[in-house]
């Protein structure tokens, strides 16, 4: 789609939307949001960029094949589940830092789990969309 307005807007919207998606991811623990919606929002951010600039530009912006996010996310989620086993707790027990960190709040293993979900969802959505766009 060739529209200067959309192209210019997407350049500003992409970082904003990505930031927003991370915001959604982080607030999920206390208020509506979470890794799944966050990942989808991030995907929408890239899709907007794709519509404005074309597949090639978005690809080079991402640098890596979107498929790379999938195993990364899976590994992260899995690792956060396995981590408690090293301190002798059952699989997927939540581990928490005792002191909250400014801005982020209390950090626990479930946050990493959610980040993994975020990455998988982002990777899956973009892989499917990119492949379809490529073939049309």
């Amino acid at each position: 789609m060739n529209s200067i307005i959309l192209r210019t807007a997407s350049a500003y919207l992409l970082p904003l939307l990505l930031l927003f998606s991370i915001f959604i991811l982080l607030r999920g623990h206390y208020e509506p949001g979470g890794g799944f919606v966050g990942g989808l929002t991030a995907a929408i951010a890239f899709v907007l960029h794709l519509i404005a600039n074309g597949l090639q530009k978005t690809r080079s912006l991402l640098r890596y094949h979107p498929g790379v996010f999938i195993p990364t996310g899976l590994l992260l989620s899995f690792a956060s589940g396995v981590a408690p086993m090293f301190v002798g707790r059952p699989f997927m027990t939540g581990l928490w830092l005792s002191e909250p960190i400014p801005v982020l709040g209390t950090i626990g293993s479930s946050l990493f789990f959610d980040v993994g979900v975020y990455l998988v969802v982002l990777g899956v959505t973009l892989t499917i969309l990119f492949t379809i766009v490529e073939n049309t």
Partner: protein, 766 residues
């Protein structure tokens, strides 16, 4: 012991990671089974005194599945066979497959197999045993199909997997039945009161399942045909898996369970019939073969049949002769397979009609072959002789069928002796053909293992006292309790000796007068169409056809038909269920009052649906679809499900974008449905919508169970430090579910990706 059993998995992983071909010689792998042999030998003195070693480690206690291992006489016997012969096989394979670039993966499979086999014979827990049982099937699949470039090799691997895997499925059903009746999966616990199983009305059903498993693994008629096919595997594999160890797993299992399930008419007669029939059927078949490996395969089948036969007789003497025969057979048959492997490797043929006089070029193997053949025929001073005497004693004492059983055993023994002579002696005597004159004696590692195995057969035969204690302990651990007779070379003049002598004479006479020929092979192949193999493969092919036609009807590639079939099926299914007790009693006053927002949104949705149905523009219908989607999101918001609404919003947005992207590429809007199809579709949709409404109304009738949601709401903060209950459930309380879900998402992405990337030629499409 847990570590010793499971270490093979680690070794196999190491083998895959390390490139030992270049730096270290391959035969170093044999250190692994050798270490295990020494480790288990260190328990031998204790076992000989009748001790047992029990190790238990919790694994999945909630499913009563623990790493329970138990080393007793029978397990010890099998363990030593597995690790001892395994060591020789590893050494042999290093020389036999030296040039093979896939040697590493070969050893990796072999180590997995050793682990599986050890686990199988040491498990005391039925579920654990089943897991190892399946692992042997899987690792043997890779070993049979090792030369995977060869289609015949792949096919036999698949047949073997299908037969043994199907049997494994039966076995699991049997184990689950045993577990549900005996309230326990530990064999030792179950043994404390066996009548709980044998008196149950489902006892015959258990037997059917367990027998199906054991017979498929140990290749009994009519499931025997995978074993001759499995001879496509490299010779070390045939020697190890298909004669010495894996095929005896079924025998081991039934022997292990015989104190639990045995000594019942069903048990004894089935085993005697199936075992006896296989014993004779396979021995006759061996007569007609000219391929050395095929002769060995059929004589192995026959020997396995004899083992089940003995188990079916079930007397204490029968159990002793069973364990003796297992060792006898493992020693001479593994040796013969290894010898055949060398012959194949050096002369490039296994056709018995073309081989002869090889003793001039392969002397050490000729010695091994003769020794193994003597043991298989049961010549005095070989271990085979002792085994055979015991078997005749057993069958003569098995009243009231002594005559019939002895006759069957006699015929089988004569034929087995003949097969042994043919495969162990014939290739080495007679005239050496011109093309084999240049054959060189292979390296030490290729002739030493078979020679050692054959020699062990003589050693145990000449000094029976060497193996006596272990064999007694093995028989004791499967139910023989009274003092067993010592193994002796000389039993005095008795009918048994007469039978032995007659067996040897008859086998020798057959060897002298009956030459193997291809014409007989052709004669017997006329009956191929009526063989169990042809029948079972035919049934399998028909099943595949039926599945294909069924799939073509129900999944013909049109998405709309799929949706229609799913809807129709659901309507039919649910209507049948709810039709008879459909009654509404809804208290309208108790429902949440409907506000202006809901009315407006619902009206919007209805208008949008109407637009989708009647528009002639794709763009308009997509926008209308998105209105429906967003309208639903708003309804979620009104009724307090913000998380759901957020996700739905993003999903809807992405769907619309996706449609927009592909929209430009689609052909012009066509109205393909005629009036009849429209009416049909309309009726189905109306019925489906009505059904869903009815279900929704019925749900309202049920008193809602708030217990679960209250638990999550109350515990989200104290236990998981989160205030958003939905998210806490997703990432914490039910995090494992989410873990699986994102895995499923990944699989879906891979599926979409590969389907879109796959550019098939029209000719490749089916």
């Amino acid at each position: 012991m847990v570590i010793a059993v499971l270490s093979g998995l680690l070794v196999s992983l190491l083998l895959l990671l390390l490139d030992f071909n270049k730096r270290w010689p391959a035969f170093l792998v044999s250190l692994y089974p050798a270490t295990l042999t020494i480790y288990f030998l260190s328990y031998l003195p204790g076992i000989l005194y009748g001790e047992t070693l029990n190790v238990s480690q919790p694994w999945i206690p909630s499913l009563q599945t623990n790493l329970d291992f138990r080393l007793d006489g029978l397990s010890m016997l099998f363990t030593l066979l597995i690790t001892g012969i395994g060591t020789l096989i590893c050494l042999y394979a290093a020389a036999y497959m030296r040039a093979d670039p896939k040697l590493r993966s070969f050893y990796a499979y072999l180590c997995v197999f050793i682990t599986a086999m050890l686990g199988l014979v040491l498990s005391d827990n039925l579920i654990l045993l089943f897991i190892f049982w399946e692992l042997t099937s899987i690792s043997s699949f890779f070993l049979i199909g090792f030369k995977y470039e060869d289609p015949a090799s792949r096919k036999s691997a698949l047949i073997a997997l299908a037969v043994t895997g199907g049997g494994g499925f039966m076995l699991l059903s049997g184990f689950l039945l045993i577990g549900s009746m005996g309230q326990h999966y530990s064999i030792q616990h179950l043994l404390s009161y066996p009548p709980i199983l044998t008196n149950d009305s489902l006892y015959p059903l258990i037997l059917v399942f367990i027998f199906a498993g054991a017979f498929s693994k140990s290749a009994q008629f009519p499931l025997h045909f995978w074993l001759p096919g499995a001879m496509k595997a490299p010779s070390p594999v045939s020697a190890y898996l298909h004669s010495a160890t894996m095929v005896k797993a079924g025998v081991y299992l039934l022997a292990r369970l015989s104190p639990l399930l045995g000594n019942q008419p069903y048990w004894n007669y089935t085993l005697m019939t199936v075992g006896g029939f296989t014993m004779l059927y396979a021995a006759f078949h061996a007569l007609f073969r000219t391929d050395l490996k095929a002769i060995l395969a059929y004589s192995t089948l026959s020997a396995l049949g004899m083992m089940f036969f003995l188990l079916g007789i079930g007397t204490e003497l029968a159990l002793l002769s069973l364990v003796t025969f297992i060792v006898v057979h493992a020693l001479y048959k593994a040796a013969m397979f290894l010898i055949t492997g060398v012959i194949d490797h050096e002369t490039k043929t296994r056709d018995i009609t073309k081989l002869g006089g090889l003793r001039k070029v392969l002397l050490p193997l000729a010695i091994a072959g003769v020794l193994a053949a003597l043991s298989s025929a049961g010549i005095p001073f070989t271990f085979g002789f002792i085994g055979k005497e015991l078997i005749y004693e057993t069958s003569l004492a098995a009243l009231p069928f002594a005559f019939l059983l002895t006759a069957a055993v006699l015929v089988a023994n004569i034929l087995l002796g003949y097969a042994g002579f043919i495969s162990g002696i014939r290739p080495f005597f007679g005239e050496l053909s011109a093309e084999h004159r240049e054959v060189k004696t292979p390296s030490f590692w290729m002739w030493a293992p078979p020679l050692l195995l054959a020699f062990a057969g003589i050693l145990f035969g000449a000094f029976p006292v060497l193996s006596q204690d272990l064999l007694h302990q093995a028989a004791n651990s499967i139910g023989a309790s009274t003092p067993l007779p010592p193994l002796k070379l000389w039993h005095g003049f008795s009918p048994v000796l007469l039978l032995s002598v007659f067996t040897i004479l008859a086998a020798t006479a057959m060897y002298l007068f009956l030459k193997p020929s291809t014409s007989r092979l052709q004669w017997v192949s006329r009956f191929e169409n009526y063989s169990p193999k042809a029948i079972i493969s035919g049934v399998a092919a028909k099943g595949k056809q039926a599945a294909a036609s069924y799939t073509h009807t129900l999944q013909n590639g049109y998405l709309r038909i799929y949706v229609m079939i799913i809807m129709l099926f659901l309507i039919a299914l649910i209507c049948c269920r709810i039709f008879d007790h459909l009654h509404f009693d809804i208290d309208i006053a108790a429902l949440t009052p409907i506000g202006i927002y809901e009315v407006v949104v619902t009206a919007l949705i209805i208008v949008a649906i109407g637009m989708i149905l009647f528009t002639h523009s794709r763009l308009a219908s997509i926008i209308a679809m998105s209105i429906v989607g967003y309208g639903l999101c708003l309804i979620f918001v009104f009724y307090g499900a913000p998380d759901l609404a957020m996700t739905q919003f993003t999903i809807d947005t992405l769907t619309v974008v996706l449609f927009m992207i592909v929209l430009l590429r689609l052909p012009a809007f066509l109205n393909l449905s005629n009036l009849r199809i429209k009416i049909r579709d309309g009726l189905i949709s109306a019925a489906f919508g009505l059904l869903i409404s009815v279900i929704a109304l019925m749900v309202l009738q049920e008193p809602t169970n708030k217990e679960i949601s209250r638990f999550y709401a109350d515990n989200a903060y104290p236990l998981a430090k989160g205030k958003n209950v939905v998210n806490v459930i997703l990432v914490d309380f039910r995090g494992s579910d989410t873990m699986v879900e994102i895995t499923v998402l990944t699989i879906a992405a891979i599926g979409v990706y590969s389907m879109l990337k796959l550019k098939m030629n029209p000719s490749e499409k089916e």
